[in-house]
Symmetry: D2
Subunit: 478 residues, 4 copies
């Protein structure tokens, strides 16, 4: 606490009952000191006063907010609109320099500090919720797909002649597109269908492909953890061991896996027995901030730094700021509570889906290493005049978003020059159409799932389908 300020206040108010006020302000200063000193996500969340105290201070440290500043450059973080200035807390310089997205900007000390702090807190969080072995991470102000492109482009620099990316099929468009965008040739490994109808990495096929192509021609294996059921997370341990043995880089798409202890556990154990060069995750899906950022993390600081210095130019500080605010708001304890709730929600959702499935002789597919998404077969439609595909839009009209109907109809989708049969199902040859739902972080399961499944779906499935009247029954209630 600033002694001059104190004594001026006391003199002005002619009182000394100000001790408590000053003490509280000192406590807030100490919170900031502690944050700067340890760069750990605080155990308990901060109140909004404390968060804004910090963020406003960071803004004041950038040159565009200096009391006196004469800007004669082409980039001085000017704002034309006060609304824009305000929503960015007057932070305008972004993060990084042309050399490196993690570099310090002399003109923007506050933004630079923001960048360092956010990355440090995230490292702490990733280590705390499962991947203790992580050595470095940083926020990239681009979505997951483009961050995977960045990782691939970084690998190219050390493997200029490699062309092939081995890719256990995962039917999410940007996961595949990132390979094409980076200019490489994808080698698609179809998944195996297990007895319980879940899908698993075909490790043998990978091994064979490596032999066939020659490991020096392979850019990397791009594996996936979080995904839609009934696909499991890839068999990360075995792939990692393979990569270690064969000296092939290994990139993991952990898009929304931070929220799942299963995914995090796979990363941690695999990093101990094999090779993972980097794992990439979305900020919005794991930390409930707007779309636009991702986190590249890894077990080797040097390689992670190489990626950050491959990014050409400055970047938006918005994802970093959103994350900093969110992490300070939640604290580690708050975040862990959300993770715990998510797990409970997953169990609850699965139970509910099983109840419905039982009514129709449908199945909820068991997924050992996918603890977020749940698939239920849609056998009941097989003799119905209603198409499975209509179900998705019916649900959407009932304000149920995120449920995904996968109709196994043998159709083909083309991405670039590549064709995929039964796109959406992660394999050419699945048997049953199905619907998926996810218990992602902050899904209001107790509220949403029960509303959705009990009120709408149960009614729809149970009563109407036998009489082919689903569409009618689902007409607006009011």
């Amino acid at each position: 606490m600033d002694e001059t300020f104190k004594s001026l206040v006391n003199a002005l108010l002619k009182t000394s009952v100000t001790d408590q006020s000053f003490e509280s302000m000192t406590t807030r200063e100490k919170q900031i000191h502690q944050l700067l000193r340890h760069r750990k996500c605080p155990l308990d969340g901060w109140d909004e006063s404390a968060i804004e105290l910090l963020v406003n201070r960071l803004a004041l440290m950038d040159s565009n907010n200096f009391v006196h500043n004469y800007g004669l450059g082409e980039r001085e973080a000017r704002f034309a609109s006060p609304l824009v200035a305000r929503r960015h807390y007057r932070l305008g310089h972004g993060i990084g320099r042309s050399g490196d997205i993690c570099e310090l900007q002399p003109k923007a000390i506050g933004s630079s500090l923001l960048n360092v702090l956010t990355n440090s807190l995230l490292l702490d969080v990733i280590q705390s919720v499962g991947v203790a072995n992580t050595r470095a991470c940083f926020v990239v102000p681009m979505a997951t797909g483009m961050s995977l492109v960045l990782c691939l482009l970084t690998i190219r620099q050390s493997r200029p002649n490699a062309k092939f990316v081995i890719w256990p099929r995962i039917d999410q468009k940007s996961c595949f597109k990132c390979i094409l965008t980076a200019g490489f040739t994808p080698v698609i490994i179809d998944n195996k269908i297990l007895d319980n109808n879940s899908l698993e990495t075909d490790v043998e096929a990978i091994e064979e492909k490596i032999k066939e192509l020659g490991n020096e021609n392979i850019v990397c294996i791009l594996s996936t953890t979080s995904c839609f059921a009934p696909r499991n997370a890839d068999n990360l341990e075995i792939i990692s061991k393979l990569c270690l043995q064969q000296s092939i880089p290994h990139l993991v798409n952990n898009a929304y896996g931070i929220q799942s202890s299963k995914c995090m556990h796979l990363l941690e154990t695999s990093s101990r027995v094999g090779r993972i060069d980097a794992f990439v995750q979305s900020t919005d899906k794991n930390f409930m901030v707007p779309v636009g950022g991702s986190i590249i993390a890894g077990f080797d600081t040097h390689f992670i730094n190489e990626i950050s210095s491959t990014y050409a130019g400055r970047g938006s500080s918005t994802p970093s700021l959103d994350l900093l605010i969110t992490l300070l708001h939640l604290g580690i304890n708050g975040y862990k509570t959300l993770l715990k709730e998510r797990k409970d929600n997953y169990n609850y959702l699965k139970e509910q889906m099983k109840i419905i499935a039982n009514k129709f002789n449908a199945n909820v597919i068991e997924n050992k290493s996918n603890q977020i998404s749940i698939a239920m077969t849609l056998n009941m439609f097989s003799n119905s005049s209603i198409k499975e595909t209509e179900l998705g839009s019916m649900l959407f009209k009932r304000s149920i978003s995120g449920a995904r109907v996968v109709a196994i109809d043998g159709k083909t989708k083309t991405i670039g020059k590549y064709e995929f049969k039964n796109w959406g199902s992660h394999t050419n040859s699945y048997n049953d159409s199905y619907i998926t739902a996810a218990a992602a972080i902050e899904t209001q399961v107790k509220k949403d799932v029960s509303d959705v499944y009990n009120i709408y779906t149960t009614q729809a499935f149970y009563v109407q389908i036998p009489t082919d009247a689903l569409s009618k029954s689902l007409a607006p209630i009011d």
Copy 2:
């Protein structure tokens, strides 16, 4: 206007003096209709009430802000922190889909509309301030450097065997790095020094290189308009003609060129006589929004669409929202007024620098096609014990940011495997050290430049340098 609302208000207030209120609200609705109908930047800026009316409405159209919504997906635009939700007006879905950054998101109609509107308004602005021939443009939520990477990666898809990017040297790191990041081989073309000591594209050297490498092996020519003096904008017309003749793609880095009628004119005329595939510009430098976005524009809608569909994944809607707010705030007239002021400022700044230069037998270098940045030689330091390089930090300590000292000391800088002599000067062999200053949009020249140059610099240059006392004189005043 909603008649039910009107009659309820009148019934409640027992009055009919409400006509003016309803009329004003109808006028605001009409503003929005007009925007949606014509997708032009309004002539006159909107007030903040109108801007927030629109933005809040966009937010209400996204599914996360529906009155009832059951989100069972892994990505539902949830917010953990109310501070984050608020600063984004509760817009969380970002823009685009995994397939294409310009695609519509059914879950996020408001964000999709935001995206379409911003891109349309920008097209209108670009056409209005000089490049009437432009056919398409879109905002990419990445900095200019990464957007150039994206353009290069897009070109690769149609020229898979081309390796070389011909690059007239421009000493801004990310301009060069983007070639390396994209995995290509840069072919550096040094600039010619004209008689007046300004730098110009060495067109002959380019022609020679094309012959040497073979046009089918060339990815593109990457030329530059806006840059630090004494480099001129590249000779865009000739390069464009060359590209047309030789069927070589042509990418233009127009980083902060929208603000300069010179740069815009070059693009327009070159597009009429030659080939330009895309031109890329920064949002922050041209439109005074925070760092983080760029605009890719071009004369062929098909190619611009290809670039947008090369982007893998969704993106942040922050740059689009900042731009939409800013354009509505300024209006075309407001923006043109700023451009006009910039031009005046440029002239004023140049005059001031000439006055100083005259005092020292230094020179302000004439730059015909660079009307933003101004270079003044620093001959006066040649016999001084003070190094030119100290001047930069002296100015920074006096809160003058953006002025750039380039010391011609023969030193070499390495980027990737490439070495650059006298990095910063755009050529290996410039004669004089110099200082640059820019009259960028919204530079407060009448205030800043006069303060800076009259109070500090003049004093410093005039009085102190002869007596070698610069460092002392510039010591903190108070």
Copy 3:
């Protein structure tokens, strides 16, 4: 929903998946319609999007926010500071006209609507949580004390010769001062001490005074419900009956009584058997908004209107806006939940205090008609070298605010020309010193009370006092 807007959006996005968006927007419009139509506090709280939609719309209806407005008056709701404009949602006209705080302002239809709505919703809330018989109420942008002054000044107009205000003693300064400020002579009725040491209205003394002074000379009886223990709420039923019989106006200070079903019940039943002209309550204490407003309510619309038309001039719309936002945020159900929690908290707090009291042979005083504040005697200090009065500041230093120590030391306090013995205790002759604590709405009892009483107080009382080491023990812990 505006059809033009819909069709423009659909045309622009080339889609019809917009139905859900429009439906949600229509639902929000209907919420507003319903509010205007029924003027009831919604059962369930609105989300912030809906609240801001309404408030922003109200602002747009005021002439200062018209698209075109030419203000040639001396009062046009101009804003000099954008920060001020923003925090008031650009509402500047205040409420009421010089004639009447409830009158409509033609220049400010939105603010007028705000005023009507808030008053209507409050009436609904007051009726719903206990005083169903209420006929009218309005927000006054002045604190409770000044609103009591306003009521008294209104009564003067119909009883120009009356001078005396009969006032059962309640030791809160502004309750007494309002009589002096209004220019009347207070007639202080001391309270009776019951066997259980709680305090009760001395009805006989009141009756006697009426006889003595003559009812035509009495302005009114000013009674009190919510107060600090061990004072009970006044015996409202008997006083009301007396006022009816004697044709004496009756004003009730119900400062923080809306939160207590006990106080509300007293008002309701008394209004049925006797006379209550108006009851006045604080907005901040009952509805958790900033200090600055109060609510004047009554059972006769005509008299309440007279009070509102006695207010001279316009008033701030801030209290009304804060209340509107808060009521929409909570909804009736949300508010009732808080009231329920408060009751639970009261019981919990009382239990905890009894546990402590038992340890010291102190007493928690039973208060039949005071269910907010709780008093515990401080006998344990009688043989201690520590003074009871030090306890208050000790607690404050431990961040316990609101606990109040009343030391019975026979001292006298003077307000105006009036002397009060043992000020704070509501009577001249109480026996024991005591401490009070309140379980007011939103007190975090489960958290605060347990922390406070278990950690600090218990420890302090139990361990230290016998050894006279209280002050030492309470020294800062860290």
Copy 4:
């Protein structure tokens, strides 16, 4: 600057280019120190960063924003709605204590500081813009009318037997109502019509009344400065002298007079030669903040303190906060610039009105001591089928607010038991109907007046009236 913070930042960023940042922050701290030390309105306005730094800090000093606080009282500044908390910067305690609106609240040091600072800055402003002799002032969170009531009630305490308030007629309802509300008997002094048709105080009538009633029976003279033309400010000097001689208190309603150097000059000179007990002004009309506050100022600190201690209870801190923000935003220089512009606007408006008047043989009335409001006679309507009264609503429909038509039709208005002939014209017997317009602070005269008078009015007056087609011509244009 906090050294720990500095060294932690430097350690973390591994740099020392942070000097400029810390220096700027120190400068901002010094701004705050200076404000606390001198309590003067800064010469130049602060930027929003500095204002929010201060306001946020004040909020942190209130106990409801302590890091740890256990509130066991009935009033702890809790917030139920985050929107409400945010718009008040989490300041909830209001200002003052039940004893005195200027007293310090131990629970709310920040709010107390806010209160002291605002009052100090206002005193500085009032002294600086004309009434150097002022000794004390404070903000009351009530409109001007109620503040006049408060002043009258305060005077009653020292003159318990006085009943009459001498009131030179000013036709603004709350100016009259305040006397009735305070419970006094108004003695109405009609104004004299001068040769130039302006109105002036009838000083002789006042003197006579004093003799008739006896000075000991007179509460005060309530005079007025700012008012609608053609009334002049009251003859303050003579009234003040009279009050001094006769020992009669003198209250001045200076509602929007701070903005007029004329009014301020009258107060200053009169205070030097005679008696003024207090002068009261509106905050919204003089400082462009929302309606809701007023400033009571005077030349005797003791009496001003008496008024503040007559206010019963706490008050809203909103007017004080709005004023503090506004004064810091403008600075003395900014405020004086606005005053200067107002004077220019007044001259411009008058000129324009004269041009119109000339066209119709109407008159703009000269008002020596009213330099805000301007009256123009409406003779042109005398032979027209259109009534003058319609003109007002015609103008309002054209979005011209604040112009006031006074039709001399001999009608009578009743306020309380009092009747006023030709209400609005300040006298029973004015000859001509007229229209008034005001050049108040921040009127956009160059824009508004020219639009209004040239486009609409001129057209209306000039073209249409002779042909009796005014109503038609003014029909909506589009």
